[in-house]
C-alpha cells in the first residue's frame, strides 16, 4: 500500500484538520491561501480531495442546494481516521528526516539567498 502523501495532499489534510466540521471547498482553499500564501484553485482542491476520498482518508457528502452558490450543492469533507494516521505518518517521517538538519538547511538557504542577491 502506498504509504506516502503528496505535499499538496498533506497541506489539504492539515486544512481539513483545522476546518473541523465545516470543511468544504471554500473554507479549505482560504485556509491554505491564508496560511501559506499559495493561491490554489477550487478545481485543484476538488481533485485532490476526490483522490483522498478514493484512498479512504477523507469522506464526503453533498448538502442541499444553496442560494449563495447560485442554487448549487456544496460538498462537505471530513478527515477519516485513516487520513489522520497517514498525515501523522507523513509528518513523523518529515520530522525524522529533518532532525538535526536545521542548521545545514539554514546554511544552504543562506547560500542560495546570497547567490540570488548578486544577480
Amino acid at each position: 500500500m502506498n504509504m506516502f502523501l503528496g505535499e499538496f495532499e498533506q497541506t489539504l489534510l492539515f486544512a481539513l484538520l483545522e476546518a473541523g466540521d465545516d470543511a468544504h471547498g471554500v473554507v479549505l482553499r482560504r485556509a491554505i491561501e491564508e496560511r501559506t500564501g499559495r493561491a490554489v484553485t477550487a478545481g485543484a482542491v476538488y481533485t485532490a480531495l476526490e483522490r483522498l476520498t478514493g484512498r479512504g482518508y477523507v469522506s464526503s457528502w453533498l448538502s442541499e442546494p444553496a442560494p449563495e452558490r447560485g442554487g448549487r450543492r456544496k460538498k462537505h469533507y471530513r478527515l477519516e481516521p485513516d487520513g489522520a494516521l497517514a498525515l501523522n505518518r507523513a509528518l513523523e517521517q518529515m520530522r525524522r528526516m529533518s532532525e538535526g538538519l536545521d542548521q545545514r538547511l539554514a546554511e544552504a538557504v543562506a547560500q542560495a539567498g546570497g547567490r540570488r542577491g548578486t544577480e
Binding site: 482553499r29 482560504r30 484553485t41 477550487a42 478545481g43 478514493g54 449563495e68 452558490r69
Partner: protein
C-alpha cells in the same frame, strides 16, 4: 446573500463547457460562493473579476489535467474500488488523458502513422465521395421547396412493365380523381414544355418551362424572391397572360431589377407580364431541373401535399386503405402516387442500383485499407511491447490499455478521414458531367454537413474496427487480456491472422481488377458497335417554327430557305432536316405489307427526313433510291418510303422490297395510309448502342406535319464544331431573329453521352483497382518482410547447415505464392458475385470471363511476386554468425 455584482459570465460559461456533473457543480459553487462572500467585498470588483477568471481557468486545468500516478497497487485495494466509483466523474479527464497518450504515440512513430493515415484516407475518401454523390443525387433538398418529404407526385398514365406514358389530364379531372381522398391539402399540376423566351433585349432562347395550376407555388411552399407568385385567378380562362421567372433568368434578362412593373417576356411570341421571381436554385420539382419560366396553363402531372404524413405512409395509405369509393376511383383512373419529390421513380430505381454498386466497390477498398492499417498497427505493437510491459507493471488496468488503444486507432482514423475528405473532393470531380440513369448530368457534387457527418461516422467506425479486431481474435483468453498481450505473443503464435489480411487484400484487388476489365471490355465493345452512320463532323440543331405560330406554308418556306442558306455556307458538305436526330426516341408505328392481314404488322421506328439525311449521315444506299427533293415536301397520296435493311428483310423476306406496298392504320381515325418502298438502306442504331432492334422506316419530312413544327437540322462540315455552330446560328437569326436554334450538339458527343455511365464505372473501378493493388502489394511486402525478419535465426541455422540461397529463396517465395494463390482464388469467387451484380450493365462481355479472369490473376500474381521478391532475397543474405546472435 445575493451578490449585487454577478460573477463574470464568460469564464462561467467556459467552465460549464469544460466540466460536467458534480465536478462542475461543486467547483463552480465554491468559486461563486467565495467570490460573493469574500473576494468581492474585500478586494473590489476589478480584482474579483480577475480572480474569478484565474479560478475558473485554473480549476478547469486542474480537473482536466489531473495527474493520476502509476500506483503499484494490487487489485482489490481501496484505491482501485475508488477509481471505479469515480469513473463517471473522470470520463472527461480520462478522455483527455487518452487523447494525449494517442497523440504522443502517433507522433513518436511518424512513418507508420502517416502511412496509416494515407491508407485510411484512400479508403475513407473513396467512400465519402460515393456518399457525397448519393447525397447530391438523392438527398439534397430542392431549394425553395417546403417540406419536401411530405410532397408526393401523382402520375396518371398508361402503365406497363417498362415504364409509363403519362396521359393528358386537365385540372378538373384531377379534382375529380382526388375528391374524397383523405389527407391532402393542395394539388398543383404542371406540364413541362420548352418555349422560346425573348425579353430584356436579349437574343431569344429555348428554355425549359412549366405550365402550372395557379396553386403550384402555394403547394410547394415557394415564396417569391421578388414580386408575387400565382394567385387563384391567374389560371382562369381569359385572365391576362402572366409569367414567373427563375432567379438566373431574372439576372440574365433584367439585371435583377426589383421593380417588375412593366417588365414582360415573350413566350413563343406571346407577351406575358413578369409578375414574380422564384428563389435562387428553384428550377421546378426535379432536383436537377432546368425550368426557368412558369406560366398558368394546362397540365398532365401533379403534386400534392400531405400534412403530417411521411411520404411512405402516404403511399401505404393509398394502396392499403383501398376499400373506399374514392380510393377505387383513384385506382380506376390509372393514377399512382410517388412519395417525395426531386427524382422520378424509374430514375430512382436505376440510380439506387448504380449507387449500390459503387458503394459496394468502395467498401471493398475501405476493407483493404482497414486490413492494411491493422497489420501496420500490429507490427508497430510488436515494437512497442516493451512500453506496454512497463505500463502494465506500473499498474495500468486492462480496460485502460484497451481504451488507449481504441482512442489511438480512432484518432488515426479521424485523421485519415480529414485527409480523406480532401481526397473525396478530387474524386467527386470524376462524377461531374455524368448523366445517371437518364437524369440530367450532375454539374456539381457537393460536400455538405451530412457528408461530413457521414465521414466522421465512418472514420470512428473504422477506427473501432481496426482497433478491436486484434482483440477479438484472442477472445478465448479474455477480451482485454488478449488485446494487451496480442502484440507480444499473438502475432507470432498466429501468423495466419496476418496472412488472412494479406489474402483478403489480394482478393479484393482481384475482384476490383476483374470489374475494371469487364467494364473496359464493355466500353470497347460499345465503341466497336457499327452505328450504320458516320457521326464525324456532323452537328445537330433543333428549330421549332411551329411554336412561333408559323402556318404550314410558312414552315415549309422557312425550312427550304434554311437548308439552302446552310448548304451554301463555307465548309458545309451537306445538310438535312429530319424529325429526329440520331439517338432519339423515335415515334413508333405499326406497318404491314399490302395484301397481308393486319396481324402481320411489324413495329417500326419512324423518322421523317429530307433526302440529304442519308448523305449527311453517310448511310449507305443498298438498293433503289432515296427521296427526291420534290418528294420531300409533298403531302398526301402514296408516300414513298425507305426501309432499313433489317425492316426490309422482316417484311419481305428474301424477295426484293423495292416497289412493295406498305399499309398503316392511323390511330386517331382508323383510316389506312399506304406507302411505296423506293429504297433500302443500311441499318443504323436507333437510340442505344446496346439494342439491335433496327426496324427503321424513313418517310418524307412533310409526311408528318407536326415534324415541320419542330425539326432537327443536321449539318456535316469540314469546319470546327464551334465555327459551324456560329455560322449556322447567324443564318437562322437572319431568317427570323425570334426563332432560336437549340439543343445544339455534335453527333459524336450525342453518341458518347449515352456511354457516360459505362465510362464512370470503368474509370472508378480502374482507379480503385489501382489503389487496391498498391495497398495489397504494400501489405504483402510488409508481411513477407516481417516473416523473414522473425525467422532470421532459423535461416541462419539453415545456411550454417549448408542450405543454398536458392533453397531459402524458394522457401520464402513458396509461402508468398501460396498466399497469392489463395488471394486470387477468393478474389475470383468475389468476381463471380460482382459479375452477377453488374451483368445488366455489361455489353458483349460474359460476366464470368476466362480471359478477364486469367488476366487479372496473372497481373496480381506478378504484383505479388514483385512484392515478395525483395524480402525473400534479404532472407538469402542472412549471415549465419550474426543470425545466431540475433534476438
Amino acid at each position: 446573500m445575493t451578490g449585487h455584482l454577478s460573477t463574470p459570465r464568460l469564464p462561467r460559461m467556459l467552465l460549464s463547457l469544460l466540466l460536467r456533473g458534480e465536478v462542475l457543480e461543486v467547483v463552480l459553487g465554491d468559486i461563486e460562493e467565495e467570490f460573493a462572500a469574500h473576494v468581492l467585498p474585500l478586494r473590489g470588483a476589478r480584482f474579483a473579476r480577475g480572480w474569478f477568471w484565474r479560478q475558473a481557468l485554473g480549476s478547469a486545468r486542474s480537473v482536466l489535467f489531473a495527474r493520476r500516478r502509476g500506483r503499484p497497487l494490487p487489485p482489490g485495494r481501496p484505491e482501485r474500488r475508488a477509481s471505479k466509483r469515480s469513473r463517471g466523474r473522470n470520463v472527461v479527464a480520462g478522455l483527455h488523458h487518452d487523447l494525449r497518450y494517442a497523440y504522443r504515440s502517433l507522433v513518436k512513430h511518424p512513418g507508420v502513422s502517416s502511412l496509416a493515415v494515407v491508407t485510411l484516407a484512400l479508403g475513407i475518401g473513396a467512400t465519402t465521395s460515393i456518399f457525397s454523390l448519393a447525397n447530391t443525387l438523392v438527398f439534397s433538398p430542392i431549394p425553395g421547396v417546403r417540406d419536401m418529404e411530405r410532397q408526393a407526385e401523382i402520375v396518371v398514365a398508361e402503365w406497363n412493365e417498362n415504364g409509363y406514358r403519362p396521359r393528358w389530364v386537365m385540372p378538373d379531372n384531377y379534382r375529380e380523381i382526388m375528391e374524397g381522398l383523405p389527407a391532402w391539402d393542395g394539388i398543383a399540376g404542371y406540364s413541362r414544355p420548352s418555349v422560346h423566351v425573348a425579353g430584356g433585349g436579349a437574343t431569344p432562347q429555348r428554355l425549359g418551362a412549366e405550365s402550372v395550376m395557379a396553386s403550384y407555388f402555394d403547394v410547394l411552399g415557394v415564396v417569391p424572391r421578388a414580386g408575387r407568385l400565382f394567385q387563384g385567378s391567374d389560371d382562369v380562362p381569359g385572365a391576362p397572360p402572366v409569367a414567373v421567372i427563375s432567379d438566373r433568368l431574372w439576372t440574365r434578362l433584367f439585371h435583377r431589377t426589383e421593380d417588375l412593373v412593366g417588365i414582360t417576356v415573350k413566350l413563343n411570341g406571346v407577351q406575358h407580364a413578369v409578375i414574380g421571381v422564384v428563389p435562387p436554385g428553384f428550377h421546378g420539382t426535379e432536383r436537377f431541373g432546368n425550368t426557368d419560366v412558369w406560366f398558368p396553363g394546362s397540365m398532365n402531372a401533379h403534386i400534392h401535399h400531405f400534412p403530417g404524413l411521411t411520404a411512405s405512409q402516404s403511399r401505404a395509405r393509398y394502396l392499403t386503405e383501398g376499400e373506399t369509393d374514392a380510393a377505387e376511383r383513384f385506382r380506376e383512373a390509372d393514377a399512382r402516387v410517388f412519395p417525395g419529390l426531386g427524382i422520378n421513380d424509374y430514375a430512382r430505381e436505376r440510380l439506387s442500383q448504380t449507387l449500390r454498386m459503387l458503394m459496394g466497390v468502395v467498401v471493398l477498398v475501405l476493407l483493404i485499407a482497414c486490413a492494411n492499417v491493422t497489420n501496420l498497427l500490429v507490427f508497430q505493437g510488436i515494437r512497442r511491447q516493451g512500453e506496454r510491459a512497463v505500463r502494465r507493471a506500473l499498474g495500468a488496468s486492462d480496460a485502460r490499455v484497451l481504451r488507449e488503444q481504441l482512442t489511438e486507432s480512432v484518432v488515426l482514423a479521424l485523421m485519415g478521414g480529414a485527409v480523406g475528405v480532401l481526397f473525396a473532393l478530387g474524386l467527386a470531380k470524376i462524377f461531374e458531367g455524368t448523366a445517371f440513369g437518364g437524369m440530367r448530368a450532375v454539374e456539381h457534387v457537393q460536400l455538405d454537413l451530412r457528408v461530413l457527418a457521414f465521414t466522421v461516422g465512418v472514420s470512428v467506425l473504422v477506427g473501432i474496427v481496426f482497433g478491436t479486431v486484434p482483440a477479438l481474435m484472442g477472445i478465448r483468453r479474455g477480451f482485454a487480456a488478449a488485446f494487451k498481450d496480442f502484440s507480444i505473443t499473438e502475432a507470432r503464435r498466429r501468423p495466419f491472422v496476418r496472412a488472412g489480411f494479406a489474402v483478403l487484400q489480394l482478393a479484393a484487388s482481384v475482384t476490383l481488377l476483374v470489374g475494371a476489365l469487364l467494364f473496359l471490355g464493355t466500353l470497347r465493345n460499345l465503341n466497336r458497335v457499327d452505328l450504320g452512320f458516320d457521326p464525324d463532323g456532323v452537328t445537330a440543331f433543333y428549330v421549332s417554327p411551329g411554336d412561333q405560330g408559323y402556318s404550314l406554308d410558312q414552315m415549309m418556306a422557312y425550312h427550304t430557305s434554311l437548308l439552302d442558306r446552310v448548304r451554301s455556307l463555307p465548309g458545309v458538305q451537306s445538310a438535312s432536316l429530319s424529325e429526329y436526330a440520331p439517338f432519339a426516341y423515335y415515334m413508333v408505328d405499326n406497318v404491314y405489307p399490302a395484301g397481308e392481314p393486319e396481324e402481320a404488322m411489324v413495329e417500326v421506328h419512324k423518322n421523317g427526313v429530307t433526302p440529304g439525311y442519308f448523305r449527311t449521315l453517310g448511310i449507305q444506299l443498298l438498293g433503289g433510291r432515296v427521296f427526291t427533293e420534290g418528294e420531300a415536301f409533298t403531302t398526301g397520296g402514296d408516300y414513298p418510303v425507305v426501309l432499313s435493311e433489317a425492316l426490309a428483310a422482316r417484311l419481305f423476306g428474301q424477295a426484293s422490297a423495292l416497289g412493295g406496298e406498305l399499309r398503316t392504320r392511323r390511330r386517331y381515325d382508323g383510316s389506312v395510309d399506304s406507302f411505296r418502298v423506293v429504297g433500302v438502306v443500311r441499318n443504323t442504331t436507333l437510340n442505344s448502342l446496346r439494342e439491335d432492334d433496327r426496324m427503321m422506316l424513313y418517310w418524307p419530312l412533310s409526311g408528318v406535319r407536326s415534324s415541320l413544327g419542330r425539326a432537327a437540322l443536321l449539318v456535316k462540315s469540314q469546319q470546327a464544331p464551334a465555327a459551324v455552330t456560329a455560322s449556322v446560328t447567324d443564318v437562322a437569326e437572319a431568317l427570323d431573329s425570334s426563332l432560336p436554334l437549340y439543343g445544339v450538339a455534335g453527333l459524336q458527343e450525342r453518341v458518347e453521352a449515352t456511354l457516360s455511365e459505362e465510362w464512370l464505372f470503368a474509370r472508378t473501378l480502374a482507379l480503385l483497382a489501382a489503389v487496391a493493388v498498391v495497398l495489397a502489394s504494400v501489405g504483402l511486402y510488409g508481411l513477407v518482410a516481417f516473416g523473414v525478419a522473425e525467422r532470421t535465426r532459423e535461416f541462419g541455422i539453415r545456411v550454417a547447415l549448408g542450405a543454398d540461397q536458392q533453397r531459402i529463396l524458394k522457401l520464402v517465395m513458396r509461402q508468398a505464392g501460396l498466399l497469392a494463390l489463395l488471394g486470387v482464388g477468393v478474389g475470383l469467387a468475389g468476381a463471380v458475385g460482382l459479375g452477377r451484380i453488374v451483368e445488366g450493365r455489361l455489353f458483349g462481355v460474359e460476366p464470368v470471363n476466362v480471359i478477364v479472369y486469367v488476366t487479372a490473376a496473372l497481373a496480381l500474381a506478378l504484383v505479388a511476386l514483385m512484392a515478395s521478391y525483395r524480402p525473400a532475397r534479404a532472407a538469402t543474405q542472412v549471415d549465419p554468425v550474426a543470425a545466431l546472435r540475433y534476438d
